[in-house]
Symmetry: C2
Subunit: 239 residues, 2 copies
DNA sequence: GCACAAAGTTCCGCTAGACGGAACAAGATT
DNA sequence: AATCTTGTTCCGTCTAGCGGAACTTTGTGC
C-alpha cells in the first residue's frame, strides 16, 4: 500500500471537504501528517494540476478531479441513457426527478432536475443517503436478494423499523414502485431500473411536496414514472 | 515531486480515459510503467476506493473521483448561483443553455440544460473547447486584458483569423454578448458573468439551430440572456 | 510600530518502502 | 496439447519520501 499515494488522496479529499480555501496547517492537522509532508505532496498535486495556491498561500482544489469524475459517470450506460428519459419525465410531471445508483449501502444522487416550484431538499447531486431511507433505494432493495444484509448494516447505525421495512419492500415488489418521506414534508416515488437480467442498481424517482402528490395527480405521476422506467429498461437492454 | 503520487494519478487518469474496463497491460502500456508498478498502485487505488476489479481481472474507475469533483464544483459560487438562473433562462427561451468557465485557454462546460428538440452537440458537460471558438469564451475574452495572449496560444495550435477575432471581440465588448457557430449548423449566443470587480471567468450561453435563431426570436433570446446575466451578476455580488 | 505568534517554506540525514526485473500461475487462443 | 498473453508474486537494490528542526514570511495584539 503505497504510503505517499494513500496520503496524497487523503490530502486531496481533505482539500475538497474543506469548503473554500484550506490552509496548510489545517490540512496537516486534518490528515494527521507532518507539515513538511503535506507541503511536499501539495506541491506535487499543484504540479499535476489538482490543487492551486492563491496569493495568501492557501490551497484549493481545482476542477481537475471533477473532469475525471464526470468522465467516469458519462461512461455509465445508465447515466447516458437516463438523460433523455429524466427530461421527459420531468416535463410530463412538472416535478423534481432524480436518478440514483446504489453505492455500498447508500444511494448516490447522480442527476436531478428540479421543479419550477422547488422543494426544500436535503439532497443534492453527489450526496449520499442510506438506501432504505429513500424511495429510489427502497425500490432497488425490493428487487435484490442482498437487501436484508444492507438493511441490517444500516440499522446498526440508525434506528430503522426493520420488520415494517421488510413488509414495505414486499409491497414495493408487488406494485413496482416505492414511497418515501425522507425529507420532511416531501413525498418521493421511486422505481428501480435494472439492466439485463441483473439485480437493479439504479432508480428513477419523482419528488414533490406531500400536498401536491394526492389523488389523480399522484396516480398520473406514478403512471408516468412506471412508463418511463419501462421505456428506459427497454433502451438499456437494446445493445 | 513524489514519483508514486504522480504515477498514481497518471494511472487513474488513464483508467478514466479508457472507456469501459481497462486491462493491467493496457494501463501499463498507456502510462509507460512497469506492470508490477501499475499492479501495486492499482491495488492501492482499489483499497482507497478509487478503482475496482471485476471478475475477469479488468479494472474500472469508481464514482469516488466524481464525488470529490462534484463537491468541488458545488462549492463554486458561480455554480451554486447559476442553477436557478440557468433554469429560468432555459424555460423562457426553450433552447439549450450552458454554463461555462474559463480554464487555461479553454472553456469548460460546467452545466447544460438541453432543449426539448435537442441539437446535435459536440460538447458535453465536462468537455473543453478552446475559448476563442465558443460564444461563451469570446464573451469572457472580450472583457479580459489577457485575451491577446490566450488567443495567441490557441492560434499556435489551430489556425485562427486573429485580426478578425480581435475586431469581433471589440464588437462583443460594445454590445455585451458574443456569437459563435462552433458546432456546424448551430448558433450560440454568450454573455460573460463577472463576480465582484474581477475580470469575468464564466459565461452563460444559449444555443440553437441557426434557423431557429432569427429575427424576433433571436432578439427575444438575447434580451432574456442579458437580463439573466444582469440578475445573476447582482446575485453574485450580494454577499 | 514593535514584538510575538503562527503559518508557509526549505534543508538534510536516515531509512522505510517503492521500484523493476524475473519467475509463476491462470486463462485464452490456435 | 502447445503457446501466447495477462494478472500476480517475490525479492534484492537503492532511491525517493519522511520528518524534525531551522528559517522566512505573514498576520495579530498590545
Amino acid at each position: 500500500m503505497d504510503r505517499a499515494v494513500s496520503r496524497s488522496f487523503a490530502i486531496l479529499e481533505a482539500l475538497a471537504r474543506s469548503r473554500g480555501p484550506a490552509r496548510l496547517s489545517d490540512l496537516s492537522a486534518a490528515t494527521d501528517l507532518q507539515k513538511s509532508t503535506v507541503h511536499r505532496i501539495l506541491a506535487t498535486l499543484s504540479e499535476l494540476g489538482y490543487a492551486d495556491q492563491d496569493d495568501s498561500g492557501r490551497y484549493r482544489p481545482t476542477l481537475r478531479s471533477w473532469e475525471i469524475g464526470i468522465g467516469v459517470v458519462a461512461d455509465l450506460p445508465i447515466y447516458r441513457v437516463a438523460a433523455g428519459f429524466l427530461q421527459t419525465l420531468h416535463r410530463t410531471t412538472g416535478e423534481t426527478v432524480s436518478l440514483t445508483v446504489l453505492s455500498g449501502n447508500d444511494v448516490l444522487y447522480l442527476e436531478k432536475l428540479t421543479a419550477a416550484r422547488p422543494v426544500r431538499f436535503l439532497t443534492r447531486v453527489g450526496s449520499r443517503v442510506p438506501a432504505p431511507l429513500t424511495a429510489g433505494g427502497k425500490a432497488i432493495l425490493s428487487a435484490r436478494i442482498d437487501a436484508p444484509q444492507i438493511i441490517e448494516e444500516v440499522a446498526a447505525h440508525r434506528d430503522l423499523d426493520v420488520p415494517a421495512l421488510m413488509t414495505e419492500l414486499e409491497e414495493c415488489r408487488q406494485r413496482g414502485y416505492a414511497l418515501s418521506g425522507y425529507s420532511p414534508g416531501v413525498t418521493s416515488i421511486g422505481a428501480a431500473v435494472a439492466v439485463g437480467g441483473a439485480p437493479p442498481d439504479a432508480a428513477l424517482s419523482v419528488s414533490a411536496p406531500r400536498e401536491r402528490l394526492a389523488g389523480k395527480t399522484r396516480d398520473a405521476i406514478i403512471e408516468a414514472l412506471l412508463e418511463t422506467r419501462a421505456r428506459m429498461t427497454e433502451a438499456l437492454d437494446r445493445p
